[in-house]
């Protein structure tokens, strides 16, 4: 499954990152604690957690909006957190783009679509002349299924799905290598969510992109992500490949989160039970937890005592399902 892990190219590397905010004098709120993972080139890495768990904060730290208070973030092997030169900063902006949660709030209502989409081109002067810029904007709009005639329109004239596609177009026109998609479909109507997800997948395949997909909806994540990290109160509790996580959830929080996914089958849905997350079942000995690899590519945040329990659990589950990994 992850035997080829060694020869996969790492694009983003998060190394022991802490992110904290000052609240009042000398008081600090730690939003992300000791996050530690790699994102490989060409994959969709999902970050899942409840509201306020720090998933957006971590995504924004990669874009250099939130500073890290400890640890570092690397992009293609180069450090991009903390103080870096202006040229490096420009390089990061060019290569890492973001798709926002609320397409209505993230577009400038007083600017035409042409300006919204061209903004990145203007900033980096990525065009030869006016005709070239307009050709690029037309192409970007067509790539996301919009029409060149939309250029002179204003954001409020579009539907939610169309606006989100404008948001995608303005990120894609920069030809980025890595995209942080911060809950790109949670503000959209259910009927057009699939359309935007399919578009994102299509663009990813065409342009060899890597996504960090931030979400709280696990059914969506299962559809789009290659690997999933579960984050709870700023701590990453479990990282695994999508199917592994759904088949062998180990951490009690992951299990609780999975139990909230509604089933499309009404008979199954009727029997679905929500499991509350109870942190008291965890090891209370006070031993420091760390990320441990329980199976190749499957990491869990645990103490050594918990590790033994998880080992038993996964072995039992594997026997049940008759899987030998």
């Amino acid at each position: 499954m992850s035997s080829n892990k060694q020869d996969r190219e790492v694009i983003i590397s998060i190394k022991h990152v802490d992110i904290s905010f000052d609240v009042g004098q000398k008081k600090k709120f730690v939003a992300v604690k000791d996050a530690n993972f790699d994102i490989y080139k060409g994959e969709t890495f999902a970050l899942v957690g409840e509201s306020g768990s720090g998933k957006t904060t971590l995504g924004r730290a990669i874009l250099r909006i939130n500073p890290c208070s400890a640890g570092e973030i690397q992009f293609e092997g180069k450090r991009i957190s903390g103080k870096i030169s202006h040229a490096e900063d420009r390089e990061v902006v060019r290569n890492i783009q973001m798709i926002f949660q609320d397409p209505a709030a993230s577009l400038n209502e007083r600017a035409t679509i042409e300006y919204c989409v061209s903004e990145g081109l203007y900033n980096f002067h990525l065009y030869d002349n006016e005709e070239d810029r307009i050709a690029k904007v037309d192409k970007a709009l067509q790539d996301v299924g919009l029409l060149p005639e939309h250029k002179s329109r204003y954001p409020h004239e579009f539907s939610g799905g169309q606006r989100q596609r404008v948001g995608i177009a303005r990120a894609m026109i920069m030809n980025p290598k890595f995209i942080v998609a911060d809950e790109p479909i949670s503000a959209l109507d259910v009927s057009i969510r699939a359309q935007v997800l399919n578009l994102m997948n299509k663009l990813k395949a065409e342009r060899n992109l890597t996504y960090l997909f931030i979400a709280h909806d696990l059914s969506v994540v299962r559809f789009i992500a290659d690997r999933i990290a579960v984050i709870h109160h700023g701590e990453i509790v479990e990282i695994a490949e999508s199917e592994t996580l759904f088949k062998f959830p180990l951490h009690p929080y992951t299990i609780s989160l999975l139990s909230t996914v509604p089933m499309p089958d009404p008979i199954v849905e009727r029997t679905r039970k929500h499991i509350d997350y109870d942190p008291s079942v965890l090891d209370q000995s006070g031993e420091k937890r760390e990320m441990r690899e329980i199976r190749p590519g499957h990491f869990i945040f645990a103490t050594s005592k918990e590790m033994k329990e998880y080992e038993e659990k996964i072995a039992r589950k594997e026997r049940e399902l008759g899987v030998n990994r």
């Binding site: 874009l63 909006i65 420009r90 902006v93 060019r94 783009q97 973001m98 926002f100 609320d102 709030a105 993230s106 577009l107 400038n108 209502e109 007083r110 600017a111 300006y115 903004e119 990145g120 900033n123 980096f124 299924g145 919009l146 029409l147 005639e149 939309h150 002179s152 329109r153 204003y154 004239e157 579009f158 169309q162 948001g167 303005r170 920069m174």
Partner: protein, 306 residues
Amino acid sequence: MDKENLFEFAAFDKLESEHIAAPRYSYWKSVWRTFFKSKFTVAVSIVMIALVLFALIQPLTSGYDPTVAPNINDASKKFLSPSSEQLFGTDNIGNSVFDAVWAGARNSIIVSFVSTAINMLIGVLVGALWGFSKKMDKWMIEVYNVIANIPFLLLAMILSYVLGAGMRSLIITMTCTSWIYVAYFIRTQVMIIRDREYNLASKCLGTGTGTIITKNILPYLVSVIMTYISREIPNIISYEVFLSYLGLGLGTTNASLGRMISMYTSFMSGYPHLFWIPVSVVALIAISLYIVGQKLADATDPRTHM
């Protein structure tokens, strides 16, 4: 015909559904359309433009000078009531009140327009940067606290003694501290929209602070800036009148509505028109400017464009 042939598949064009049927939206066109929709607004605008133009042009043709009084020794030309010959009558020194009023109005309008332009220009520029930069906010708020606590009347008195009375010194009086109130107002407005998500999106696309201010923030402030201007212009007109009334404004060599009102107050009982005519002209100019400004401010708010 059998049932199978009754229906056929229509061609389906996915892009067809992306068309927007609504007519094209243009911000400034919608502003003017909304503005001219109300007959009342159009009428007041015509009155305002007529008053301002008349006040600017009439004194050039009459050549009124408050220091000259050719009829001062002719008792038959003093205190005349308004008539077809002397529209607003004559005053205690036999000068035409009509000429004096418009010459005064001209000075008031020039002072208020120039001062407002200077205040808004400096205020919006400083306020936009002030609202954006947290570092600048720290010391600017102290500067504001100091300047905002200087009593305006005291400042006007000192400046009129130091600089002497006149148009230029009055404009300096009206602008030397007033811009900071505009700046403070704009700072607050900028802070409200500074942290909206679309500014973050611009930052992610590499847009600099200057472009964010001019493209993302100021367009949202057109309507509040218009509201401020519509209050500022009549305000400065009344301040000019008030200061001239106290003897701190334009001085004796310039025609001034304020000085006229203060001079004519003593003839209130015998010749009330001498007092009421300049007061009504000030009121008419100030109110029409205010109403037009308010209506324009409303029209620049895109929520009224539907």
